[in-house]
């Protein structure tokens, strides 16, 4: 059995506007396994971001259950949620959400600042495992990065915040932009900083809400490549929202939303070959066709759900 890291049961979120109610989430049940790469698609307004914000503990559902690592998140207080956002989940936004006037290095240090944990720890272990993500064009290849990370490791006993932030920036290929402020970076580079920030506390899960929505297609490809590699090389569970079929297809699984519900689930091209999901997960094993969503039992397969474009 693959370990389930995220499980929601009948999640609801309702916005009241005047006397009309908007059911942004109308009973969403989904299970995500450790190490899974999952794409969420669906038309605009279908509730994707609402779901993502709840999964990221940025928002609370009005009803239903959300179990993160088996823990019922809806009962946790604000401080515990902040800790989860800090340590267990890295969130990447469409609009980057970097702090103004702050250098890349300090942006990435920010979560460490609020973590309060001891420097070193997981990051040090990871660097020893030689896990930096493989090379995109024009940046050092994996081999070199491992070397750079090692050098940093050798200079110290445990990794300081600064060193860990540096490592994360190296991992996203920004070793020569560390002191740049957001206004001095391209959109793609800003999003890389945001990914480094999501990565720096070594979270088990990265959630990305249309991470390439504001970027041109070439840059989008590069960034998606980065996210996919984080999944395949580091085993991080990656869930992202996208409107691009091509990108969505490169995953283990695609969840399609419609009007606040999961309309359909579909296997991606990557299949179920990740270590975590290798031994036939119950949640998605019957994925020869799209898995039926809980609230839409046995709906016939939507043959080409991903053709619906924005």
């Amino acid at each position: 059995m693959p370990e389930t890291v995220i499980e929601t049961n009948n999640l609801r979120k309702t916005y009241v506007m005047g006397d009309s109610e908007i059911h942004a989430l109308d009973g969403v049940s989904v299970q995500i396994s450790r190490g899974e790469l999952l794409a969420i698609t669906g038309p605009s307004g279908s509730g994707k971001s609402t779901l993502m914000n709840i999964l990221g503990c940025l928002d609370r559902p009005d009803g239903g259950e959300y179990l993160l690592d088996g823990e019922d998140v809806s009962t946790l207080n604000d401080n515990r949620l902040a800790e989860i956002r800090n340590r267990q989940i890295g969130f990447v936004f469409q609009s980057f959400n970097l702090l103004p006037r702050v250098s890349a290095l300090e942006q990435v240090e920010l979560p460490l600042l609020y973590g309060g944990g001891s420097p070193g720890g997981k990051a040090a272990r990871r660097a020893q495992a030689g896990a930096p993500v493989g090379g995109a064009a024009g940046v050092p290849d994996a081999q070199e990065r491992v070397g750079m990370a090692r050098d940093l490791m050798l200079q110290r006993g445990g990794a300081s915040w600064r060193d860990r932030a540096r490592e994360a920036l190296i991992a996203v290929g920004l070793e020569d932009r560390m002191s740049h402020k957001p206004t001095e970076l391209s959109g793609g580079q800003q999003q890389r900083v945001a990914i480094a920030r999501a990565l720096v506390t070594d979270p088990a899960i990265i959630l990305a809400d249309e991470p390439t929505g504001n970027l041109d297609s070439r840059t989008s490809e590069e960034l998606m490549g980065l996210l996919l590699r984080l999944n395949s090389e580091r085993g991080i569970t990656v869930v992202f929202i996208t409107h691009e079929d091509e990108i969505a297809r490169q995953t283990n699984r695609i969840v399609r939303m419609m009007d606040g519900r999961i309309e359909a689930e579909e296997r991606g091209e990557k299949g179920m070959d990740t270590a975590a999901s290798a031994d036939a997960p119950a949640a998605s094993a019957d994925a020869s066709g799209p898995t039926a969503a809980a609230n839409e039992p046995s709906t016939p397969t939507v043959t080409s759900p991903l053709e619906t474009r924005r």
Binding site: G56, L58, D78, A82, F91, P100, L113, G116
Partner: protein, 418 residues
């Protein structure tokens, strides 16, 4: 608190230099006015205390009146020259070294050949000079024979001498006070001080018997000659000596004034310590009053901080959202904004003290008195401590509301804020 929080606060303040400096200015003005005004009060207190101390801390000062807390309505018996003579017996055992009486003083216009001035003429016993640590600069002091013969002689304070005889030697000259012709026999050493209430420099001293005969012939129903006050100088300033001296004086005076055992004293014996304490307390109230007036501007400065912090929280809503999204807790955001306002207020407090000290120094250089005397000022440690702690309190008090508002923002709403 993490050091990083301080860094974040400072860089946020540095990002908006003009706004920060204007807010600072509000704080600086508030603290500077508190510091400067209170330094005047403290300066006055210091000056008067120093004068009292110079007069000797082993001198008991006796005057007519009911002690505090007495509700005795009976008429009191005036202190008299005869009382002071009776107290002389205390010198026999050596604990008292001198008893001086000060008769009714009169403000007269005094004329000399080369000038005239309006001064207070005071009848005293010869012991007045040693008891009050006054020394003669030129000529002679008053003597017992001057006293017994009611001699028309005068010892001048230094300022009076300088005013009446700018060019000449005053000794052996004659001055006229009203219809009283006085022979100048001596001039006192300059004593200084006295910005508030009679320095000996401004007085003319004559034998008390002369004053009683020529200036004020009033006698009490018992036929005794009233005096303003009696000073008793003790052999040292130890507390036991002072207490014992006061007790002996009390029993002699009660007996002379025929006071029943259950009745209150009709005189007040004040030790120098009492006197200094009483004066300090009175001036302390005055100082606090000055401080409170200046405190209003500090309040205005504090409201300025709150205003700016509220604007800042609104402006940085998105930033707060980002910080929360990556794991900042309520407390982290609260501390961040609180540190910001406290940094402004404490920095404003420190700069304000410097400016206030400068103003206070400026005031002490100004010739404010009628004769160009200046007002002494003192920026004491307690003023500095008070100003800084009030500034920090203002920072926390006016910072807590905006900071709390920031801390309670919902992460997702803060992120959506435009």
């Amino acid at each position: 608190m993490r050091f990083a929080t301080l860094k974040v606060a400072i860089s946020a303040l540095a990002a908006n230099k003009l706004r920060t400096s204007l807010t600072l200015l509000g704080m600086i003005i508030g603290v500077a006015s508190v510091t400067a005004l209170m330094s005047i009060g403290r300066g006055v207190e210091k000056q008067i205390t120093a004068e009292l101390q110079a007069a000797g801390t082993n001198v008991l000062f006796i005057f007519s009146g009911r002690p505090g807390g007495s509700d005795d309505e009976d008429p009191i018996r005036q202190l008299t020259y005869e009382d002071s003579l009776a107290l002389e017996e205390l010198t026999w055992d050596g604990t008292v070294v001198g008893v001086a009486a000060v008769g009714n003083s009169r403000n007269l216009s005094v004329v000399a050949e080369s000038g005239d001035t309006r001064v207070t003429v005071q009848g005293v016993t010869p012991s007045y000079m040693p008891v009050n640590n006054l020394t003669i600069a030129f000529g002679d002091t008053l003597t017992e024979s001057d006293l017994s013969s009611r001699a028309a002689v005068a010892v001048l304070g230094a300022t009076v001498a300088a005013n009446l005889f700018p060019d000449d030697d005053p000794i052996d000259q004659t001055i006229r006070a009203d219809n009283l012709r006085l022979h100048v026999i001596g001039v006192l050493e300059e004593q200084g001080g006295g910005a508030f209430g009679g320095s000996p420099d401004d007085l003319v001293f004559i034998p008390i018997t002369t004053a009683q005969a020529r200036l004020s012939r009033w006698v009490t129903p018992e036929g005794e000659r009233p005096v303003n006050s009696i000073s008793v100088k003790l052999v040292d300033e130890r507390e036991e000596t002072i207490d014992a001296g006061a007790a002996s004086i009390r029993s002699i005076l009660r007996e002379r004034h025929e006071i029943a055992d259950d009745a209150d004293d009709d005189f007040i014996i004040m030790s120098p310590k009492d006197l200094i304490e009483a004066v300090s307390a009175a001036i302390g109230v005055f100082t606090l009053f000055l401080g409170a007036i200046a405190g209003i501007s500090l309040l205005v400065g504090g409201i300025g901080i709150m205003n700016i912090m509220l604007v800042s929280v609104t402006e940085r809503t998105r930033e707060i959202g980002i910080r929360k999204a990556v794991g900042a807790k309520r407390r982290d955001i609260l501390v961040q904004f609180l540190v910001e306002s406290v940094v402004v207020s404490v920095l404003g407090g420190i700069l304000g003290i410097l400016l206030g000290g400068l103003i206070s120094f400026g005031i002490s250089q100004l010739p404010l008195g009628p004769d160009g005397e200046s007002l002494q000022t003192a920026v004491t440690l307690d003023i500095i401590v008070l100003a800084v702690s009030v500034a920090a309190t203002v920072g926390i008090f006016f910072g807590i509301y905006p900071a709390n508002r920031a801390a309670r923002l919902d992460p997702i709403q803060a992120l959506r804020y435009e």
